[in-house]
Symmetry: C2
Subunit: 217 residues, 2 copies
Amino acid sequence: MTEPTQHGPIDWLDKVSDRMASQFRFLIEADRLKMVIRGSRIADGSRRENTAEHSWHLGLFAMVLSEWAVGPIDLFRVVQMLVLHDLVEIECGDTPLFDEAGSTTQATREAEAADALYGLLPLDQSHAFRSLWEEFEAATTPDARFAKAVDRLQPILLNHLVGGGTWLDYNVDVERERSLTCRIAEGAPALWGAAEAVIADAAARGWLKPAISMNPH
Amino acid sequence: MTEPTQHGPIDWLDKVSDRMASQFRFLIEADRLKMVIRGSRIADGSRRENTAEHSWHLGLFAMVLSEWAVGPIDLFRVVQMLVLHDLVEIECGDTPLFDEAGSTTQATREAEAADALYGLLPLDQSHAFRSLWEEFEAATTPDARFAKAVDRLQPILLNHLVGGGTWLDYNVDVERERSLTCRIAEGAPALWGAAEAVIADAAARGWLKPAISMNPH
């Protein structure tokens, strides 16, 4: 959880319509996503990624990789979902995929965060944006499944680029990694093929541990 | 200009199709945008903004503020333009609005950067994405004008939130600021109204100098 943003007075909002003022309050609050730090490093390994730049990268991933979606998608909806998908982390912080304790309470904490955050917007936009975010979380529509696929794929690439990343931080084995990311196949089978190649290479290099259940005989 | 990204071997790209490998090379190269530092601070003033998170913020600005566009726009095209609009900074770095020396060579440097960067993509995507970026730069279509409006508006808000920001860094006066940002009105007159309110307030607080040409008599 980040601290509430400390910034100067915004009484100039009195000079614009109530509707526009609500929109600016939301956009100013959203700036805090730049201070939410993820487990993943950026590609040169120099620092951890923040959630705002992660969300930008995913938008670009979706634009570039949309042809690999399992079926027809509405790419505009997908990109909007990805711009919005982690905004609740402003209140909740990032919950790494490998953090089991955090994951049990994640849904409740994020729903409360969504109330607070999307509640800043005019009612029509509040409903529309929150509904897109809930669709992403449920991951039952083709658009949401593709968005989820991209969100699972990007950290695999970053972990490999930096020589292990969160796989080493959390002592992850290859089967656990596969089980946590195989839903990529639901949104984009060809991208899951790429992810499997990256995971196999990471295992061969020792960045992912051998599967615990693996029986050599 | 950022250094070429140092990262681990990407020979796993041999396991995917040439087309997909080109797409991943582009997406990995794009990661460098997270290391391009802008003049603007993030809203709490704690550090400078990087161009990747700036691009995310602008996508959100466009989604929230689209109703204020001067005429009908295709919001999907606008959001894509904003995701792409600063990618050339990977090669060129950010050129602040107030940097006159940098601005004279900016177009040439950015065109060369676009050749290198978009050239990584498969030809169809290379053309499509570069064409969207060129449309943004030319700013003659309604979509590009709205995207430019948002790109000019966000730094004004951030400068005000942090108590002056690049206005103080560059000793900017109120008329210069207005002349550099008034094109917001071409894309979204109502947002220019908001920008004028912010600028007037900043001038009243001494964060923007009085206009040099102003005659008190």
